[in-house]
């Protein structure tokens, strides 16, 4: 057919920047999560500890309120690195529950239905697809972990004054790095396990197994081999070891909870290894096609 007769032509209008294209996937992934009323309610509940924390900070700084309740509290004794660590402990475990709830459904559905082909037959690479999904999860988990943590830090620094904020600047790094590390590990692990088993319930179950059964196996190995290295199989243990150092928790804290035993570097190496294994698994299993063998 002569070119001039063609009524059909390729779209040649303006395009959005390629670097931000993955955000389309993040937006739709997050939106699909909030279609569940239960999930929305749970997300709101995850912010309750932050509200309680804010109320506590206000209370210890408000002489009027303390007078009304007949109490006398010292803000510097109460609101410190241990308090922030305690607050984040509740948040990171809520983040864990949220991950187990949200991620397997988000990933397995795409794989079980071969929807990956739909996405990857667009100008969207596998890393960009993963980035789209990860960013949706990380953003969501950040909203209930380090973001409220930093807001509480800001509130405390504002109400305390007298250079408290500048004296405790390191705490910002501890909150941010500690939470982001946790969020990254659980998000990657949930994605890798989901991609591996392609079944939502099994993926959720495996997450619990990795976090609560594997440490038991590690302790069994310790008992049999008379070593401490088995603790590196426990993600909660290695993360707590890192947190205690990041939050500069006192020695009595470490010994009291028996967090000694393996060196700090091995905890970092363990976390890094878990992340690398997850990335390798994702790279291997996240494909736009499947071949049945045998």
């Amino acid at each position: 057919m002569a070119v001039y007769k063609r009524s059909y032509k390729v779209y040649d209008g303006p395009l959005t920047p390629t670097g931000s294209r993955f955000l389309v996937l993040s937006r739709y992934s997050a939106a699909s999560l909030f279609e569940s009323r239960y999930f929305t309610v749970f997300t709101v509940l995850c912010l309750v500890p932050a509200l309680i924390g804010a109320a506590t900070i206000y209370f210890v700084h408000s002489a009027t309120t303390q007078l009304l309740l007949g109490m006398r509290l010292s803000s510097t004794d109460l609101i410190n690195n241990v308090w922030f660590w305690g607050f984040l402990q509740s948040q990171v475990w809520l983040a864990f529950v949220m991950t187990v709830w949200a991620v397997p459904g988000m990933m397995t559905r795409d794989l079980a239905n071969h929807a990956l082909q739909l996405y990857l037959s667009r100008p969207l690479s596998r890393p960009e697809y993963l980035l789209g999904k990860v960013s949706a999860v990380v953003l969501l988990l950040s909203a209930i972990t380090w973001i409220p943590g930093l807001l509480l830090f800001g509130l405390q620094a504002q109400l305390e004054g007298h250079g408290w904020g500048s004296e405790h600047l390191w705490l910002i790094g501890a909150i941010f790095i500690g939470c982001l590390l946790w969020v990254t590990v659980i998000a990657l692990m949930a994605m890798a396990l989901s991609v591996w088993v392609k079944w939502r319930i099994a993926a959720s179950g495996l997450m619990f197994a990795v976090f609560f059964v594997l440490p038991g196996l590690g302790e069994a190995a310790n008992a049999i081999l008379h070593t401490q290295w088995g603790r590196l199989l426990s993600v909660p243990y290695v993360m707590t070891l890192i947190w205690t150092h990041l939050f500069r928790l006192p020695d009595r804290f470490i010994h009291g909870f028996n967090y000694a035993g393996v060196p700090l570097w091995s905890a970092w190496a363990s976390v890094l290894s878990v992340c690398l294994i997850c990335i390798m698994l994702l790279n291997q299993r996240l494909r736009a096609r499947e071949v049945e063998r045998g």
Binding site: Y8, P14, L15, P17, R21, Y28, N113, Q117, P123
Partner: protein
Amino acid sequence: MKAENNKIVFENVSKFYGEVLGVNRVNLALPPGVTSLVGPNGSGKTTLMNLMTGLIKPTQGRVSVLGLTPDHPEEFFRHVGYCTQFDSFPKGVTGYQFIYQSLKLHGISNNEAQRLTKEAIERVNMGEAASRRIAGYSKGMRQRIRLAQSIAHHPTVLVLDEPLNGLDPMARAESITLFQALGKDGLHVIISSHVLHEVDKISDQVVLMSYGYVVAEGEIHGVRSEVKEHPMQILVRCSRPNLVASRLFCQDHVVEAKLHVDGMGLLVRTQDADQFYLLLNRIVLEDDIAVETVAPADDDVNSIYQYLIGGSGGTV
């Protein structure tokens, strides 16, 4: 413009999934128009489609689509639209959202994406159902909305894996008309289908595949004439068929002439169709035969499939 820039080219392409053969040593140059990929399950049709849509990379050889490769995804995917065979949709989305989202992934701005979404929905006659959730669609509606998302960004290469599956006769006819219209517009429309008689109706050329190899490719009549070991069958409805049969049977290239029971026609099997037609013309003029119909009886995809690959006809 290089000739290759208007073709889908496979140069000695092989694809292995570990030990499993996908396709082997494929050499093709598909021109614009409707091309059908035909072959039994596991013959490599979907692998070939995945290769031309950049979803997988060849183990060996080179694939280029209109001179483009998936190494430049922005330009490549602007030209390629893919409708997979799988019934896969993100959870909870409406037909409109499904197409809109895919256009956003192409990087198309909000206003343009809205316009193109509406246009694609209209093109597949899904206007009334577009605002409903896909989960509530019938199989045929799902197929059509998938088709809409594959054409929404105006690709020049449209790859459709089993696009007629699950469609009712009306939707089938509409889809076929749409494919033909797109083919006439100069698009490359690549279709894999198990419904051979429909493939036959819409295809400009055909690629026959078996066990990962391309068995034959080209324009249907051309492929048929290349299948020398199976004499071509030609149906002739005429007066005095016994006379025609006796005259024809004197020729070496005519291997069989079977009279119809109603005495008004015959089925001829010949190894040289061109010679046969010349001879028939002569007989008709010399003996004053009244001819009602002369038509090839096995010059279609179904017959070619049976001759080259085997198995029953109709649907594969």
